[in-house]
C-alpha cells in the first residue's frame, strides 16, 4: 500500500500533525512518570484553565523503564480543539452539527490486514506484555495502571452487529486485566448473551484514533446498532476497518488505530476492580468485574498510546459534547424553539443547559422533561437566547431573577440515573431529578416583552470603552 496515502488517512497521528504548533500541543521531551506525574500535569494545566494536547515523549513506567511508546493525553480537553476536529469553527455550534452527522451513518469499509497500519506489528500470546504499554496510574488510591481510552468492541451474537464503548481496564499482568462494562451498557448485554450460551465473550480493545472516530464511536445508539457506522457519519467517509487477528471478521477493528488488544472475557470469571477515579471527581469503590485474557496485541510500528484523564476535562469535554448532540436531537423533537444545549463540565455529566428562542407556553417544560429522560441528566435548566448557556454566571443570574421555585421547578423521582452519583442513598437503583424553567414569559404580538428590560449600556459606548482599554495592561489590576 502507498505509505503516503496511509499517512493522509484520518488517524491520531494525522490529527496531531494538523495541530503541530506549540500553542496547541505541549511536547514534553523530558522523562515523566506514568505513575501520577502525567495526570498531575493535566491537573496543573487545568488549574491555569489551559488545555493544550500533551505529548509525553519519554514516559517512565512503574518499574523504571522508559516506555517504547509516547503518551498523548488532553487530546480533547479543549472544546475549541475538539470542535475544530469536526470542522466546527465555534464550539458552541457543535451540538447541532454532531446530531446531524451522526444521524447520517456511513457503513465502514473493510480492508485487508496488510492494509491496516494497526497490524504492522503483531504479537501473539507469549510475546504479549501489557506492562510494556505506558498505561497511567492516575489518582491516589487507584490500585495500578489503567487503560482509560480502550474502546471495547464486542458484537451481538444474535445479529452480529458491533458495539463500541470506552470501558476501563486495570492492567494486572502481562496478559491479564480486569474489564469493567457498566451493567446497563450494550457491551455488558453482549457479554451476558455469550455467557448464557456457555461461551466466553470475544473482545478487542482499540486505542488511539482521530477525535472524530473517538466521538463517533461514543454516539448513543439503540441496541443493536453499529458505532462504526456512526463514526463514518462523523468522518463524512467510511471508517476503514480490518479483521482482528484473533476473531477475524467477527470483530472488525479500526485499521488506522494505534494499538489493538485482543482476547476473551471468560464466562463467569470475576475479580476486584478499582478503586478508580471516576468522572464524578470522586474515587469510585472497588467493585466486582469480569476479567480479560489477552491473546494478541497489534500496533503501528511507531504507535502512540492515548490516555483519557478520568474526571478531568480531557474526558468530560468530548463525552459532554457528544451528550449535547444527543440531547439536541431528543429535545428538539418536542420543543422546536430549542436553539442550543450545553452540558457543562462543572456538572460532570449531570447538568444540561437548554437555550430556547421565545418558547411557547409549556414548551420549555416539555423540553426539560425530554432532557431529564436522558439517563445521566439529573438537572436541566431552560433559558432564553439572551442568556449565554456557556457562561455559568449568566446561568446563575437567570436562576436568581427568572425563577419562582414553586412555579418553575419540576421534581421527578424514580428515574434511571447514574449509579456513580455519590449522593445516591445506599442501595438506591433510581434517582431524583429536577427541571428548572428559567425562561421569560413568551411575548405577545409585536409589542415589548412583558418582562423587565435588561440593564445595558449602548453598544457603541461599549466599543469605545473596549478601545480605551486596549492601551492599558490588565495584568496588574486586582482580580475579582
Amino acid at each position: 500500500m502507498d505509505k503516503s496515502l496511509k499517512s493522509a488517512l484520518p488517524s491520531l497521528g494525522s490529527f496531531l500533525t494538523g495541530f503541530g504548533s506549540e500553542s496547541v500541543v505541549l511536547r514534553m521531551a523530558a522523562p515523566i512518570a506514568t505513575v501520577h506525574d502525567i495526570t498531575a500535569l493535566q491537573y496543573a494545566l487545568q488549574e491555569k484553565k489551559r488545555y493544550p494536547i500533551v505529548f509525553a515523549e519519554k514516559p517512565i513506567l512503574s518499574d523504571g523503564r522508559e516506555s517504547a511508546f509516547p503518551v498523548v493525553c488532553n487530546l480533547t480537553a479543549s472544546r475549541e480543539v475538539t470542535a475544530a476536529a469536526l470542522g466546527v469553527e465555534d464550539h458552541r455550534a457543535f451540538a447541532k452539527t454532531y446530531a446531524s452527522a451522526v444521524g447520517s451513518p456511513i457503513a465502514p469499509l473493510v480492508v485487508s490486514r496488510d492494509e491496516a497500519p494497526v497490524q504492522e506489528v503483531v504479537q501473539h500470546s507469549d510475546e504479549v506484555n501489557l506492562l510494556d504499554l505506558p498505561a497511567l496510574t492516575q489518582h491516589v488510591g487507584d490500585p495500578g495502571p489503567y487503560l482509560t481510552a480502550a474502546h471495547a468492541t464486542t458484537y451481538d451474537p444474535d445479529t452480529l452487529v458491533d458495539n463500541v464503548a470506552i470501558q476501563r481496564c486495570w492492567v494486572k499482568g502481562a496478559a491479564a486485566m480486569s474489564y469493567f462494562p457498566y451493567p446497563a451498557t450494550h457491551n455488558a448485554r453482549n457479554m451476558r448473551k455469550f455467557w448464557e450460551r456457555g461461551e466466553d465473550c470475544p473482545i478487542a480493545f482499540w486505542i488511539g484514533h482521530h477525535p472524530l472516530v473517538l466521538m463517533g464511536t461514543q454516539a448513543k445508539m439503540g441496541y443493536p446498532e453499529s458505532h462504526l457506522s456512526a463514526a463514518g457519519g462523523l468522518l463524512g467517509q467510511p471508517l476503514r476497518v480490518a479483521p482482528s487477528v484473533t476473531h477475524g471478521e467477527r470483530i472488525l477493528v479500526p485499521a488506522d488505530a494505534e494499538i489493538v488488544i485482543e482476547g476473551w472475557v471468560p464466562k463467569d470469571t470475576f475479580g476486584p476492580d478499582g478503586p478508580f477515579g471516576e468522572y464524578t471527581g470522586y474515587l469510585g469503590p472497588q467493585m466486582i468485574a469480569p476479567t480479560c485474557e489477552v491473546t494478541c496485541i497489534t500496533r503501528r510500528q511507531n504507535a502512540i498510546y492515548h490516555d483519557y484523564g478520568s474526571g478531568l476535562d480531557d474526558m468530560l469535554v468530548p463525552d459532554n459534547m457528544v451528550m449535547e448532540g444527543k440531547l439536541y436531537a431528543m429535545v428538539a423533537q418536542v420543543a422546536p424553539s430549542l436553539v442550543n444545549v450545553h452540558v457543562p463540565t462543572s456538572g460532570r455529566r449531570f447538568h444540561a443547559y437548554l437555550q430556547f428562542d421565545n418558547p411557547a407556553q409549556g414548551e420549555a417544560r416539555d423540553g426539560l422533561m425530554a432532557a431529564l429522560s436522558y439517563r445521566r441528566v439529573k438537572t436541566a435548566i431552560a433559558v432564553n437566547t439572551d442568556v449565554d448557556v456557556f457562561e455559568e454566571t449568566d446561568m446563575l443570574w437567570a436562576l436568581a431573577t427568572r425563577v419562582q421555585w414553586d412555579r418553575d421547578s419540576i421534581g421527578v423521582s424514580g428515574l434511571s440515573g447514574s449509579m456513580l452519583d455519590p449522593s445516591l442513598p445506599k442501595g438506591a437503583r433510581t434517582t431524583s431529578k429536577l427541571g428548572i424553567d428559567a425562561t421569560l414569559p413568551p411575548g405577545e404580538g409585536a409589542g415589548p416583552s412583558p418582562s423587565l428590560p435588561r440593564s445595558r449600556v449602548p453598544e457603541d459606548a461599549l466599543e469605545r470603552a473596549r478601545d480605551l482599554l486596549k492601551s492599558h495592561s490588565a495584568e496588574e489590576w486586582p482580580l475579582g
Partner: protein
C-alpha cells in the same frame, strides 16, 4: 417541629446518611472502599491498593458498613 422535606418519608427521607463501605487490610492496615456486592462476596477477594494483598471481607481487620 414540622418536616419540610418533600415526599412521605419524614426524617427518613431528609436525613443524610453515609453510603460508602470501607475495609481495613489485614496485612498493612490501610483502608479502602468497596461496593456492597464485593463486601458480601464469598468468591471474589478484595485487593488492597496499598500493599496488593488479597482478602475476603471476613478476614478484614475492620469493616465500616453504614
Amino acid at each position: 417541629m414540622t418536616e419540610t422535606g418533600s415526599g412521605t418519608g419524614g426524617a427518613a427521607m431528609t436525613e443524610k446518611r453515609g453510603n460508602t463501605c470501607w475495609v481495613q487490610c489485614p496485612k498493612c492496615s490501610a483502608w479502602h472502599h468497596v461496593a456492597p456486592d464485593l463486601l458480601r462476596s464469598t468468591h471474589v477477594k478484595m485487593h488492597c491498593p496499598s500493599c496488593h494483598f488479597e482478602f475476603f471481607a471476613a478476614e478484614a481487620q475492620a469493616v465500616i458498613d453504614p
